[in-house]
């Protein structure tokens, strides 16, 4: 959230209820903007279309999915047993689930860091060069357009145990790469492909962020800070912070929720003891195995964890983001 930290609200910390009420009533106490339009119907008119779509096509079905998490049910809808928290207990009590959770956290940190870092580096350089800038930008963004099933196939072929170019490269350095058999070899393949898929996304948003930095600011920066690194750290980075914060959150949700098709391709839809993410497990149990109750419970757990993480990031990171 964007409200100011507690200490700023006065010497005595307000009660929990008070804070909750503040939070509930929106950002009136600590507005996003110093100047805002007033109350009235207009904001509702603006937000209504999005809200309607979200309520009808997200909350309505999601509520049913959450209800399912308390049942074990026949997928066709003929029978069901109310089991309370059993689905949750089953998931959380499993050793495999916990090791999957650890892998997901690790995977998330590595993929987000690499995809953001490389995307930012390329965007900064592409913003800087003049000769060939158009070609670089077009090429780098275009890769994003490759059809996901084919992207997965290419990744799989690159890491093929018998004939993949990467397998040969690793063999040259004396390592026998066995993606699909060895846990960490598979991890390398998953990280490489996931990062590869996400770089163009980060590149395009960082680039648009950089492009909207006014020329006057850049020129001032050029005079003030001699070294490139200082200039980047003191001027460019703060200006990019709103975009970077957006991308951080999006990349985390990408790694969490959108990488499971890559996993599915790399393990050839048989995960065996290869690393997988929590969402892949949900996909495996729910979509492939038709265990609606179990997979719903796992999704709810995941949703709560990621939501909590996100709230924390909004609270502690966004405070450092300087807007405007």
């Amino acid at each position: 959230m964007t409200d100011t930290p507690l200490s700023a609200q006065g010497p005595t910390a307000p009660s929990f209820l008070h804070r909750l009420r503040d939070w509930w009533s929106g950002e009136t106490a600590n507005p996003v903007k110093r100047v805002q339009f007033g109350h009235g119907l207009t904001p509702w008119l603006f937000v209504l279309p999005q809200l309607a779509v979200v309520v009808i096509f997200f909350y309505w079905p999601s509520a049913q999915a959450v209800t399912s998490s308390f049942y074990i049910e026949d997928p066709f809808g003929f029978g069901s047993t109310f089991v309370g928290m059993e689905n949750y207990a089953d998931a959380l009590g499993s050793k495999e689930y916990l090791s999957t959770a650890w892998f997901t956290a690790f995977f998330c940190v590595v993929v987000t860091a690499l995809a953001l870092g490389i995307g930012l580096l390329l965007a900064v350089k592409a913003d800087k060069v003049i000769r060939g800038a158009e070609s670089y930008k077009t090429l780098l963004i275009s890769v994003y357009a490759i059809a996901p099933p084919v992207a997965g196939l290419i990744g799989m072929m690159f890491f093929d145990m018998h004939m993949g170019p990467f397998t040969r490269l690793f063999a040259f350095f004396g390592h026998e790469l066995r993606v699909g058999v060895d846990y960490w070899d598979t991890t390398i393949a998953l990280i490489t492909i996931s990062v590869w898929k996400q770089i163009p996304y980060n590149f395009i948003f960082f680039l648009s962020g950089l492009q909207s930095v006014p020329v006057s600011v850049r020129e001032a920066a050029l005079i003030d800070a001699r070294s490139g690194w200082r200039r980047f750290k003191d001027v460019t980075l703060p200006l990019l912070a709103p975009t970077a914060f957006f991308l951080l959150i999006i990349n985390i949700t990408y790694t969490m929720f959108d990488t499971f098709p890559i996993i599915d391709v790399i393990v050839k839809d048989k995960p065996a003891n290869n690393p997988m993410t929590l969402v892949y497990k949900v996909y495996l149990d729910g979509f492939k195995g038709n265990d609606i109750g179990g997979s719903s419970a796992q999704s709810v757990i995941l949703m709560v964890v990621v939501a909590a993480l996100t709230v924390l990031q909004f609270r502690f990171l966004e405070r450092r983001v300087h807007y405007g």
């Binding site: 049910e73 026949d74 997928p75 995960p271 003891n273 195995g289 265990d291």
Partner: protein, 431 residues
């Protein structure tokens, strides 16, 4: 040729709509060439009569097709016919009321139906414990062992019938410079069909056929554990190559001519004819001579067609008509020769044989013959809920066995306990 056929059929279609033919739909999970053959068969059916008009719709993969079918059924939008794969069969059969048993449907429409027309190994897999057909067997296959003929000549050995034979010849193949054996999908080959080829119990409650309550997996028995201890031993001696759970990863060494034997699907010969640069043959999947009563027929893999409930009589009659059309020898032979799946009736097998198909492609006959071997108490099939998840547990533990993380016995203890937990969960779905 195909275009004229389409045109003729298009004409036939417009003609038949004039008589207000009954429309039925078929959701399937096949792509590539198989998807095209499904379209061709449907066109043939529409051209063969004018009361019914069948429209097949590709619904992605098997899993996507099943999920689509389930979602649609819950909203009353289900198709007349849904294709469901072997491991998902328990889900749809357990949901009594979701489907009309194929046998009831066909007989109810006044069509002729005889269980004995079907190949023995196909007869019971999608039937209930009394042998009544619930699903209509459609695309079926069997696991068989492919051989690199050159390798066997070079090593001067004969193809193995039993695993004891394998142990004798494997070192010689290794000496001749080959990796003696690889195998794809160990769950299908070394568990499910280890059970069928050696006539071993796979689950309590009559392999799960007698009901879902209280069904338990029989996995950590001495014979099953012995099979994997042998595999591990062979892997350590360089007689067997394990390349993870991926199908193609295990096939590759055989295609490259490095492996002398590969256990794969009876339908794999079509692909191998294009990718293997050496002559190859096939034999039945080996069994253990030491196990009494072994050498029985194998389970089928593949998928079946289910008639969804909640449709008007006229449409159900059309579905029945289509099922009858589908099992006609000519349709079966067309399907068999174009896709590599085995024919499901004896008459179709005889027809293919009389047309000289197996003289031309002897490998294509091995799977059917294996399915026609004598059956045993435990060769009808197995019925376990959440079976896709149970397979995942097995695959995970197998990787651990071959990487040396766990002992075979411990792995199968885990498989049995996690499998039973899943089965107990599934029993609750019936409410």
């Amino acid at each position: 040729m195909f275009k004229t056929a389409t045109a003729a059929i298009a004409l036939a279609l417009t003609a038949s709509t004039a008589f207000a033919a009954t429309d039925i739909t078929w959701w399937h999970g096949m792509g590539g060439r198989n998807g095209e053959v499904i379209n061709e068969i449907s066109q043939k059916f529409n051209a063969s009569q004018d009361q019914c008009k069948l429209t097949p719709i590709s619904k992605g993969t098997y899993e996507e097709a099943l999920s689509s079918g389930i979602a649609a059924f819950r909203s009353g939008e289900q198709p007349n016919i849904l294709q469901v794969f072997d491991a998902g069969a328990a889900t749809i059969i357990a949901a009594k009321g979701a489907t009309i048993p194929a046998e009831d449907l066909i007989k109810g429409a006044g069509e002729k139906f005889n269980r004995e027309d079907f190949i023995a190994g196909v007869r019971n897999f999608y039937a209930d414990s009394d042998g009544k057909f619930i699903g209509m067997p459609f695309n079926s296959s069997a696991p068989i062992m492919y051989l690199n003929t050159e390798a066997f000549e070079k090593a001067g050995v004969e193809p193995p019938k039993t695993w004891e034979d394998f142990e004798k010849i494997a070192p010689k193949l290794k000496e001749a410079g080959y990796l003696p054996m690889t195998a794809s999908q160990l769950t299908w080959m070394m568990v499910e069909n280890f059970k069928s080829r050696n006539n071993q119990q796979f689950a309590t409650n009559n392999n799960g056929y007698d009901g879902i309550k209280g069904t338990e997996l029989v996995a950590n028995d001495a014979n099953q554990v012995m099979m994997f201890e042998k595999l591990k031993e062979w892997a350590d001696q360089g007689l067997y190559g394990f390349y993870g759970a991926g199908w193609a990863d295990n096939l590759k060494p055989f295609e490259e001519g490095k492996a002398a034997m590969w256990i794969g699907s009876s339908g794999s010969f079509g692909g191998l004819q294009k990718s293997a640069k050496f002559p190859f043959g096939a034999v039945f999947m080996p069994y253990w001579g030491s196990i009494e009563g072994a050498g029985t027929q194998s389970f089928i893999g593949g998928a079946a067609l289910f008639a969804m409930a909640g449709k008007p009589k006229a449409e159900n009659d059309c579905t029945a008509k289509f099922f009858t059309f589908l099992t006609a020898p000519e349709t079966q032979v067309y399907w068999h020769e174009n896709t590599g799946y085995v024919p499901v009736t004896e008459a179709a097998y005889e027809l293919a044989k009389s047309q000289g198909y197996y003289d031309e492609k002897p490998v294509a006959e091995v799977g059917i013959q294996q399915l026609m071997l004598p059956g045993g108490e435990w060769t009808k099939g197995y019925r376990m809920g959440f079976y896709p998840q149970i397979r995942s547990v097995m695959e995970r533990e197998f990787n651990r066995i071959f990487s040396g993380e766990v002992s075979v016995k411990d792995a199968f203890d885990t498989i049995e306990s996690e499998g039973n937990a899943l089965l107990a969960r599934f029993a609750k779905t019936a409410g």
